[in-house]
Symmetry: C2
């Protein structure tokens, strides 16, 4: 059977279909549980969540399903706060804050800029989550050991063959190959993100040729055709984000879901405007107007902290021109069917795609 | 059989495998004839050739094979010569000309900047070539009629769904969907090329859903895995360039072939530096040093004419740092086996890829 791959066997799931850990709302407990319950691997996108929120969400998933699931976190990277960068960014953002009616002195970035990884990871250990997936780097050897001692499977994210090989050498169990089509943040952690914008069609065979651990294809995969194609390219599984983004179980803002459902293949762009880290999303007014200044913006997580209030207020006022609308280049093929139904549809479509090619 | 698709039937070829019309040397008569003779569709990359050279090459192909083949041309686009742009570009190029020992006054751009399309196309009509493929736009209705009257099949190039739909509405018989992984010039002709850098995995299903004419996948396809994946995505055929670039029959410079064989997935970049039109190639010194000035360079074909002498002299001196090394993101998988052998290998690999997934 097409679905009996190294990925489905290792993760103990019916179909080697992972739901991406879309942080910041879309991939909450409800979406993760629905995908897992239907036979895929649901993922809690916990990158921006406080440790206590993660614990609560993990317990919620377990109330909803007894199937395996993953929790996704961001690996912290060193960053520099250059003199003046923060002030320049604040001046750039001030007019938007004013337009949204946010009081006074413009955007602030209260510390810490991001939730502390160690405290987040500690919750995963304590709750003994089945799978820990991550992006933006590799956990330290100590953390990897700690997870392995608890029997927690580790999934890393690579945008190049070199990153995949590095993850494997650190003992990571499975590697997601994130093609340039993928929505959301680029997982690149070795070298610049521009060089690492490699299309899924080119990336997956090169990763599969080099790695010994199973490769999971991500980027532009939206239906059974993409899943079947990915398996033929050498992947043992797939990870889909945008395909689940507009489902009722997704926590994405209703206007965000509408924008995804109305988008097309030319709608997205890779931008640093919202978070300071390159990410693919639907081009809106904020992205366009910040384009000129992109190179001078502070790095993640500084810029992310600076725009947080603005994004929150924009969501409250339903002003999609200031919201981060992460989506991949396949977004035209997104649907609003329930996530569990979608998983079963994807499995049936994949089987059908293979059946059509039989001879 | 996997190879009996709308593309192989329409083109009367054994395998729906097209060799891309890599202009400027690689795709000469010898490569085209070898690919066609082996059961694929070879293509003469005639974009930069004079009408007389095209006629000679077409006759050479016919001496070497009686199988169908294609000739590829560039559709001329309107362009503007802004005041000062040419002078600025000449000043930028002068140091490189000096470094290569080119005499005197720096780069010149003798008119016409490009070979006249009408005279090139007239040769194709007179020689009644089996297939005319093109990029950068659509021929006028008169030209399309003239080709159709001679029974010449037409293949256009699309980088977006809108471009594909436009080609179809103009009566084009088959549409190549050029994913962002593809090497060489971007075929984009509606809107900016940045928005039209859509990965093959995302582009092909969206094109296949919209078009009624057969879709040919291009971009990052290097072996049977990529061919099988493309057919599952909804394509009825594939077009490969980089996979044939280092073959003995390819007219690419020996140093260029070496560079391709030593490259990896992060080696390439989309640049306007050489021709004024966005194209993917291996990042070398010229590309890196021109990066800052890219936005100010004259458009194609002006910049192409300005750098012609420099590129020619660099090739003569084997200075790959100044040569245009067009290649796709799958270039790591390129081989130097003969093109005909490669076509048969690709067919066998494709069959094998499908067979592995049988259940």
């Amino acid at each position: 059977m097409w679905n009996q791959t190294a990925v489905s066997e290792l993760l103990k799931i019916d179909y080697p279909i992972l739901q991406a850990g879309m942080a910041g709302g879309p991939a909450g407990a409800r979406l993760a549980a629905s995908v897992s319950e239907a036979g895929g691997l649901g993922t809690l996108g916990a990158g921006y969540m406080k440790p206590g929120e993660i614990r609560e969400a993990v317990r919620e998933i377990r109330r909803l399903t007894d199937k395996p699931f993953a929790v996704n976190l961001f690996i912290p990277e060193p960053y520099e706060e250059e003199d003046g960068t923060m002030e320049r960014a604040r001046r750039l953002l001030q007019p938007y804050c004013r337009e949204l009616g946010l009081a006074g002195e413009g955007p602030a970035a209260p510390k810490p800029y991001a939730e502390p990884f160690e405290e987040q990871a500690q919750v995963l250990l304590e709750e003994k989550v089945p799978v820990f997936s991550f992006t933006f780097g590799v956990p330290s050897a100590d953390w990897i050991d700690a997870f392995k001692k608890e029997g927690i499977l580790l999934i890393g994210t690579a945008t190049t063959v070199a990153e995949g090989a590095h993850l494997e050498s650190e003992g990571i169990d499975l590697v997601v190959g994130q093609g340039s089509e993928a929505g959301g943040h680029r997982g690149t952690f070795l070298g610049g993100h521009e060089q690492a914008l490699v299309g899924t069609m080119a990336l997956i065979p090169q990763l599969a040729d080099t790695l010994h651990v199973p490769v999971i294809a991500a980027g532009g995969i939206m239906d059974g055709r993409g899943i079947a194609a990915s398996l033929l390219l050498g992947a043992s599984g797939v990870q889909l984000g945008t395909a689940f983004l507009a489902s009722p179980e997704s926590g994405a803002h209703p206007r965000y879901k509408e924008a995804v459902l109305q988008s097309m293949e030319e709608s997205t762009v890779v931008t640093r405007a919202f978070s300071g880290k390159a990410a693919r999303g639907i081009r809106n007014r904020f992205v366009v107007e910040m384009e000129q200044a992109e190179a001078t913006l502070p790095p993640y997580p500084v810029q992310n902290a600076l725009t947080r209030e603005l994004r929150r207020e924009a969501a409250r006022q339903e002003r999609i021109e200031f919201m981060s609308l992460w989506a991949g280049q396949g977004s035209r093929l997104a649907t609003d069917v329930p996530a569990g139904v979608r998983v079963r549809e994807l499995a049936a479509q994949t089987e059908e795609a293979f059946r059509r090619m039989h001879f």
